[in-house]
């Protein structure tokens, strides 16, 4: 990175998703080539741009023409070609372009054009390991403004005016919560950032922490000032090593600048932050369990009240907010609460980040104004279902959420509207399912998750989820009986009513929504012994298509039970008696001639 300005700027998407897709090899190739050659370019990294489906990705900006293109699906070889063609010869390689800054209709441009980015405002655009880049885009001005020009009450008013509600799942109004902590009696107060992100299928908090850690920290500085807390904690799950590393770097930089510590921004306000690394327990995302974990105990929830605002960490008043909530705060302080409240519905304001995954064509990060319909999120932003298949369901809100069918695609994203369907907004994970996803298996999967993660403190959750899981497992094994559906329903009602925390209180949701919207699949499993999606091993048979089988023998070699037979170059056959339906052959077949039914 030279001081003098080069014509081109080349930014590599370097978050966990990019690295998983091979960004390291691209980075090495780029660095070597730029070192050796004479390209008029400087290199930089950024967090996830949200185009996870096209990783590894680079954005090439032509500073002279104020124009940029994003290239996707790169590898070490292709990126050298980009250097040759684009940087040396000024020719854009159209084929690999994901997005052009001047033509949102080109390529996958509408993925971004259909979004409205506030929380993700800097993700993929600045180097998350450089405080200077954050400051250059206006970073820390909101915190400075809050601390030097506003009283704590004014800050809280502004956040209340914005209508911001907690993005950690429950959707509690943030301004109101801050007000409670502010008014709580006590000299010593704490502010905690909940970065535990335990919902499998949600990765927005990771993306923000990796792509723009300073925005979260700035939100914490503002929140700490508002409630009167001088010590902040970030509780981040250990499964996110890159997020942890970037947070550490950011906090180091802030100490060097005097933006954290004693008398920050030239005021007499002190604020500091410590990072606490989780140790792998989903329930620690729940606020009272999280605090127990910070104190070094087993992470088990406690009944509320007392609420953390009055008696939290070390029994002092404590305010807990989610990563996404905090990342929106600096924007609200800079632009004003009213501006934020212009977006969204009557009761759900602003924007929400969703993580698209599963069978959706464009998986990645989608930040949209509240009030967009599920259809807009999944189809306009997400590009619909992969391989042109039919949409079957979207799972929202992880293990506490539910599965919604195509008929509900016009539901707006709004806390109340989503809850009315039986799902929840939750953290914002959206797993799209097509005909190859079995809804009973999915419900069983979530129950096995909550059962495993139940901390065991209360009976309804510990034992109730176990009984539900047993029934679901039985159904998937083809041993279900018609009464099982009713039994599930009764158990679900009891667990919901009697659990100590929301882990148990919401655990039945995936079962209830699938029973409600996909009852036919339960009936298929129980009455007709069929898994139409071809997922549940006990209820399927594997076949080889004799027309397309080339007799290569790949399946025969991998079959653990010797159920496959056939001469070389002749169509093979599966003996259903011997077959244990492990489906290993299915993944080996080069001509996709094996199917499950």
């Amino acid at each position: 990175m030279g001081e003098e300005r080069t014509r081109y700027k080349l930014v590599l998407g370097y978050g966990t998703c990019g690295i998983a897709a091979g960004a390291n090899a691209v980075k090495t190739a780029l660095e070597e080539a730029v070192e050796k050659g004479s390209y008029d370019v400087d290199l930089d990294i950024a967090g996830c741009m949200g185009y996870c489906f096209k990783e590894p990705i680079i954005e090439v900006t032509d500073r002279e023409r104020d124009y940029s293109v994003v290239y996707g699906d790169l590898d070490a070889k292709k990126v050298l070609q980009v250097l040759e063609e684009h940087i040396l010869n000024g020719r854009v390689i159209e084929e690999w372009v994901v997005r052009k800054s001047d033509d949102p209709s080109f390529g996958e441009g509408d993925f971004l054009a259909n979004q409205h980015r506030i929380v993700l405002r800097n993700c993929g655009r600045i180097n998350p390991e450089s405080i200077d880049e954050y400051i250059a885009v206006g970073g820390y001005q909101a915190a400075r403004k809050a601390l030097t020009q506003m009283t704590s009450e004014e800050v809280i008013d502004e956040v209340s005016k914005s209508g911001l509600r907690g993005r950690g799942g429950a959707g509690f109004p943030t301004g109101t919560k801050w007000g409670f902590a502010r008014k709580a009696r006590g000299e010593e107060k704490y502010l905690v950032c909940n970065a535990d992100e335990g919902d499998p299928g949600a990765f927005m908090d990771r993306s923000v922490l990796e792509g723009d850690p300073h925005s979260v920290i700035e939100g914490m500085i503002i929140a700490g000032y508002a409630i009167g807390a001088k010590q902040g904690y970030i509780y981040c799950r250990a499964e996110y090593p890159l997020a942890l590393k970037r947070l550490e770097i950011a906090i180091d930089h802030l100490h060097q600048r005097g933006y954290l510590g004693k008398g920050i921004f030239g005021t007499d306000w002190d604020f500091d932050i410590k990072i606490k690394k989780g140790a792998g327990a989903f329930v620690c995302g729940e606020e009272t369990a999280l605090m127990a974990s910070i104190e070094g105990r087993r992470g088990m929830p406690n009944p509320r009240p007392p609420f953390p605002a009055n008696e939290g960490l070390w029994r002092k008043p404590t305010n807990i907010n989610n990563v996404e909530t905090l990342a929106a705060v600096p924007w609200i302080i800079s632009h004003g609460g009213d501006k934020y409240a212009e977006l969204g519905t009557e009761k759900s304001k602003g924007t929400k980040v969703f993580c698209l995954a599963g069978k959706v064509r464009r998986s990645g990060l989608a930040e949209v104004p509240m009030g967009y319909t599920l259809r807009q999120v999944i189809f306009d932003v997400g590009g619909g279902v992969r391989e042109g298949k039919e949409f079957k369901a979207v799972q929202m809100g992880g293990p506490s959420g539910g599965c919604l069918p195509a008929e509900l695609l016009d539901t707006p994203v709004d806390y109340e509207a989503i809850t009315a369907t039986g799902a929840i907004m939750g953290s914002g994970g959206m797993i799209v399912a097509d005909s190859s996803t079995c809804m009973v298996d999915l419900a069983r999967y979530f129950l096995s998750f909550t059962q495993e993660e139940s901390c065991g403190k209360c009976v309804p959750c510990r034992i109730g989820t176990k009984r539900m899981l047993e029934i679901l497992t039985r159904i998937c094994e083809g041993k279900g009986v018609p009464e099982d559906m009713e039994k599930l329903q009764t158990l679900a009602a009891d667990i919901k009513a009697a659990s100590l925390c929301a882990l148990g209180g919401t655990a039945p949701n995936p079962v209830l929504t699938t029973l409600k919207y996909f009852r036919n699949e339960y009936e298929d499993h129980i009455l007709r012994h069929k898994c139409t999606a071809g997922v549940c091993p006990a209820l399927i048979t594997l076949f080889i298509n004799e027309e397309t089988c080339t007799g290569c023998g790949a399946c025969l070699k991998v079959c653990p039970t010797g159920a496959i037979s056939g001469e070389k170059k002749e169509p093979h056959k599966i003996d259903p008696e011997l077959c244990i339906r492990c489906k290993l052959c299915l993944s080996r077949c080069p001509t996709e001639s094996i199917w499950a039914e």
Partner: protein, 172 residues
Amino acid sequence: MEEGCNHKHRFASVDDLRPLEEILKRYEKEKGALIPLLQETQEAYGYLDEKIMRMLAKKAGYQLSQIYGVATFYTQFRLQPIGEYLIKVCHGTACHVAGADLITEEVCNQLGIKEKETTPDGKFTLESVMCVGACSLSPIMIVGEDTHGKLKPTAIKKILKSYYGEPKEEDE
């Protein structure tokens, strides 16, 4: 990905108490530091050996039951030694829907071990984890420090082989 071949885990022997003493010193003044204490101890020794936990209890002033309680509550802590590389197959929602079961099955198949077991040569230990946050590249497997995304069961053999340094020609 590719750079997976050259990092070796170096764990201290449980007879060597120096790493433990260093860790204890660092957290001497911090309240509620049991979890980071255990995390760093595990990083140093690879797992939480009974002898080490006893020592920790004595020196840091905890009840052994308290330490054991925490160590068994959180999935991150291990009471058994692990191989040189820890293989973590993600079984989060996205990965489950994308066929994580097949990935685990294939790894078991290739290495001849079951989940939570270590290969006889001490090279690999296999575990499942919940969402690692790279759902858009599901299914995902992490080997040591390297994340492998968009996996197909057919790719696993080659990936595992790459951790044996010089790629060996194996009879097929």
